[in-house]
């Protein structure tokens, strides 16, 4: 239930190809299409805000008799109380422990037992709870979501158990998982003052310091109608659904006090920084280089997404073809434009091939960064990247869950659900010069934080 917001090793597939000496017919054409030919109808949603401040977006789509319900709260890892890193995520777990009216696991019973499912994730900026159920069960889930917003009940016993579960999740995903700690280290070193430096999962020490009083205060501070967004997509009648929402969420009061917000501003980085770490669960040396980029709502966001795909998405990307396939310096190489509500990071990560020195892999990576800064991509490459992005936008709209999440992200991270209907056009408008411009603007040496990550055995060897 913890979202590290990092794609899992894209471009890591080990496709060694094309036997040399294989007899081929001489001419092979790479197919091309113009991404601008991919037209997609706008997402038509109804938008209403209740008097208590709850914003509600409804998307009717009656193809399949099910609905996706998302309730997003504008509170994430960056909003963790001081000395309580990991708290927003721990709190997400507690929202499944029942209320004064319901037993623990009520959400599971109301979904799984009728052919649906439910889950939640916590990111740096939001905590999002979601369910997919047959549409005749919509009102039952709206009731249950209103119920846990209105009256969470947590006692010492289930608080302690769930805290152990979250620490177990930390042990499993961060400590035991190979490279599990690397993202945490990158966030910690790349940010000097912004709370993004604490990550989402937090630290076991600070989780252990949390008390039941913290839970009560956190619920009162952030779990309120005017800090929530409800999105429902699927087989629904908008007026009937608005009536249900008013019935169950309408009476929940909103406190007078404003919701506290993070106002920290990360100062510009002025010199390149490199940090070296060793850990036991690092099979092969790796490096992650992170560059500061603007917030998700910035006008450069689309060009940064294009840059991400061009450099590091899939087997046709520059980093994969150069570092993994041609030079065989890396087992995986990918890029990630991690756009957030506040200024995020553009990260490139390379994991060495066996027997390769990290310095060699880093030099090859630096050459690719220099190349994308030096000249704009040609039209054929840009066309391929635009098509990849446009196709994935269209694909994600096939499910009610995909549509609902897109609206959640646009509203909470960029401030306006309507942005979803301009994204495709914004991607298509990105020119080769735009890509070069964002590369030169952000992928600068003095804006870079690098974390080199080595197997613990190499440290021992160096020491002896």
């Amino acid at each position: 239930m913890f979202d590290c917001q990092r794609p899992a090793d894209r471009g890591s597939e080990q496709g060694r190809a094309a036997a040399p000496g294989m007899i081929r017919e001489p001419v092979t054409t790479v197919p091309t299409i113009s991404a601008s030919a991919i037209g997609v109808a706008p997402i038509r949603y109804r938008d209403r805000t209740l008097p208590n401040g709850l914003r509600v977006l409804l998307v009717p789509d009656r193809r399949v008799p099910s609905v996706a319900i998302n309730v997003a709260y504008r509170v994430g890892g960056k909003d963790d109380p001081p000395g309580r890193s990991g708290f927003a995520h721990l709190f997400e777990h507690l929202m499944f422990k029942g209320t004064s009216r319901t037993a623990a696991e009520t959400m599971d019973r109301l979904t799984e037992d009728v052919g649906g499912f439910n889950n939640a994730f916590t990111s740096e900026d939001i905590t999002n709870y979601y369910e997919v159920v047959p549409s005749n069960h919509l009102e039952r889930l709206l009731w249950a979501e209103a119920d846990r917003l209105a009256s969470l009940t947590v006692n010492e016993e289930n608080f302690a158990t769930e805290r152990d579960v979250v620490i177990g999740e930390y042990d499993q995903r961060i400590l035991a998982e190979p490279y599990g700690m690397l993202d945490e280290l990158v966030n910690r070193e790349a940010y000097a003052v912004h709370p993004y430096r604490r990550g989402v999962i937090g630290s076991p020490a600070e989780l252990n310091a949390a008390s039941l009083d913290d839970v009560v205060a956190f619920h009162a501070t952030y779990y309120r109608p005017d800090n929530a967004l409800l999105v429902v997509a699927g087989d629904l009648d908008p007026e009937e659904t608005f009536a249900m929402v008013e019935r169950w969420f309408g009476p929940i009061p909103t406190p007078r006090s404003p919701v506290p917000r993070v106002h920290a501003v990360e100062p510009p980085q002025t010199a390149a920084r490199t940090f070296v770490y060793h850990a036991a669960n690092v099979p092969l040396a790796a490096v992650e280089e992170a560059y500061h980029i603007p917030a998700a709502a910035h006008s450069d966001a689309a060009a940064l997404d294009v840059l991400e795909t061009l450099l590091g998405s899939g087997r046709s990307s520059r980093l994969y073809t150069s570092l993994v396939y041609e030079q065989q310096l890396a087992t995986s190489a990918y890029a990630s434009a991690d756009l957030r509500e506040h200024p995020g990071l553009f990260a490139v990560r390379v994991t060495c091939a066996g027997g390769v020195e990290l310095a060699a892999a880093r030099a090859a990576l630096a050459a690719e960064i220099a190349r994308v800064r030096a000249q704009p991509p040609d039209e054929a490459e840009l066309a391929r990247v635009r098509t990849q992005i446009a196709s994935s936008v269209v694909r994600s709209r096939q499910t009610n869950g995909g549509v609902a999440l897109e609206l959640v992200r646009a509203t909470t991270e960029r401030g306006d659900p309507e942005l979803v209907n301009g994204d495709l056009a914004r991607y298509l408008a990105v020119s080769g010069e735009d890509v070069q411009r964002v590369a030169t603007t952000y992928l600068r040496d003095e804006n870079r934080t690098s974390v080199e990550y080595y197997p613990a055995s190499e440290k021992l060897r160096a020491a002896s």
Partner: protein, 460 residues
């Protein structure tokens, strides 16, 4: 505050769905084309179903059909593996090939403007694979490595053993992925032979659907695949082995290094096109899921395991019914008794019509989620094709499930799921074998290192 929240509102009656109606046509070369139209998004999906898969390969060549499928995307007469990846990315397409027991399937999906070229790429992969010796070696090595990882997992090992117990030397008995020994012996020529013999238009079905009219789908299929010529040899008979009659027995695989014991109880049951398939599906759902009977008995009441469930495998010939769980070695004998008794409860203590309401909802809910995407619809139609089920049944699926009553669930369980169930345990036998034998009489015990899934009798 908000006193109105005191009552959980009731669910209304389930809503109906309007699914696209499939149409079909046969091209001159014998290729059967199934098309459907659903135009809400600019996406089209296709699925080429080739009528033979693992069931068609010989025991000694187990893994051949899987090797062929894995190699299709690794090079054609005009493109190497990377060039296929680049071409596919340039189209924003996804092309995947895989083999099952009853069929081999190549799928492709792309946006509407890219789809004709994506289908042409699929066609190139299917009709003109290179099977370059270097790629054959690479895929062979990777497959053997993957097998070692798979069989380190006691659950996977239990499934492999269960297939052998259920089918012996009949076509579904051998492992689809082969064994290290069979994979070593397969030559490039045999790969090419299997492809030439079984990948043919007169024994294949192309499903196309999404953002296009069905007539346009037929025209596109003709343009891209109409020139595919069938070989002179006639299409052979479908592989059809004699499946041994189910027999209650216990097989223990002694694997002292397993973390926990994998327990699997089950038997061969019915084929997908059997009229009883829907009742058997609902019976399986009675046992499955968190609130299903197996999890209630095994986890909730006794804490024997983190979870337990059952699955019904659809096949052209009778498929399997398996109940599975993972338990501490020391409690494996107890878990075996509980699991077998819970399966028997389908007949001894049948579910009522009221009990069935939520269990049937789990089946229809999963179905409706599966058909949210055009790939999902294509895949359901592809399965209907493989299992000789009339295509129109897709639209009736939910109704058929909802029409299942308590008596038909009890009846199919009593005749096809409960009698003569076997049990397989893979774990540290020293901790449970004596207890299991006390309850069931002598069990067959095989050491994990000596187990040979390539042998109908499991070696040892």
């Amino acid at each position: 505050m908000n006193g109105g929240l005191s009552t959980l509102p009731a669910a209304g009656p389930p809503h109906d769905a309007v699914l696209p109606a499939p149409a079909e046509r046969v091209l001159d070369n014998g290729l059967r084309v199934v098309a459907f139209s659903q135009r809400n998004l600019p996406l089209v999906a296709a699925q080429l179903v080739v009528g033979c898969g693992g069931a068609a390969e010989h025991e000694d060549e187990a893994g051949l059909s899987a090797l062929v499928a894995a190699l299709l995307t690794q090079g054609t007469a005009v493109r190497g593996a990377t060039e296929i990846a680049v071409a596919s990315d340039a189209l924003g397409a996804r092309i995947i090939a895989a083999s099952g027991y009853d069929a081999s399937v190549v799928t492709c999906a792309a946006t509407t403007p890219a789809f004709p070229q994506a289908l042409a790429l699929l066609d190139e992969i299917v009709r003109r694979p290179a099977f370059a010796p270097r790629e054959v070696e690479r895929v062979r090595t990777k497959s053997i490595t993957d097998l070692a990882l798979t069989y380190a997992n006691p659950n996977a090992l239990a499934r492999g053993v269960a297939h052998r117990i259920a089918y012996g030397g009949a076509p579904y008995g051998h492992p689809l992925a082969g064994t290290a020994a069979t994979l070593e012996t397969i030559t490039r020529d045999r790969v090419a032979w299997f492809h030439e013999r079984f990948y043919r238009p007169d024994d294949a079905v192309l499903v196309i659907g999404g953002d296009l009219e069905t007539d346009d789908a037929f025209a596109l299929a003709e343009r891209v695949m109409g020139s595919w010529r069938a070989p002179e040899t006639p299409v052979g008979e479908r592989p059809h082995g004699t499946i041994p009659p189910p027999r209650a027995q216990v097989v223990i695989v002694d694997k002292p290094d397993a973390g926990r014991t994998a327990l699997l109880a089950g038997r061969v049951t019915i084929e997908r096109r059997s009229p009883e398939f829907y009742a058997a599906t609902v019976a399986t759902a009675v046992l499955s899921g968190y609130s299903g009977r197996l999890n209630q008995e095994v986890r909730v009441k006794r804490g024997l395991s983190y979870g337990a469930g059952a699955a019904l495998a659809a096949r052209r010939q009778p498929g399997t019914f398996f109940a599975m769980t993972l338990v501490d070695h020391a409690r494996a004998a107890e878990a075996t008794e509980v699991t077998l008794a819970t399966i028997r409860s389908l007949a001894d203590a049948p579910a009522s019509d009221d009990d069935l309401v939520t269990r049937k909802a789990t089946v229809t809910g999963a179905f409706f989620r599966a058909i949210e995407t055009v790939d999902g619809i294509a895949s359901v139609l592809g399965e209907h094709v493989v299992y000789d089920v009339p295509l129109g049944e897709m639209q009736e699926y939910a109704h058929r499930v909802l029409a299942v009553d308590a008596e038909s669930v009890r009846a199919v369980a009593a005749s096809r799921l409960v009698p003569e169930t076997f049990a397989v345990l893979v774990g540290d036998a020293s901790k449970f074998a004596a207890d299991v034998e006390r309850a069931h009489g002598a069990a067959r015990i095989v050491e994990a290192q000596r187990l040979d899934l390539g042998s109908p009798t499991l070696g040892g």
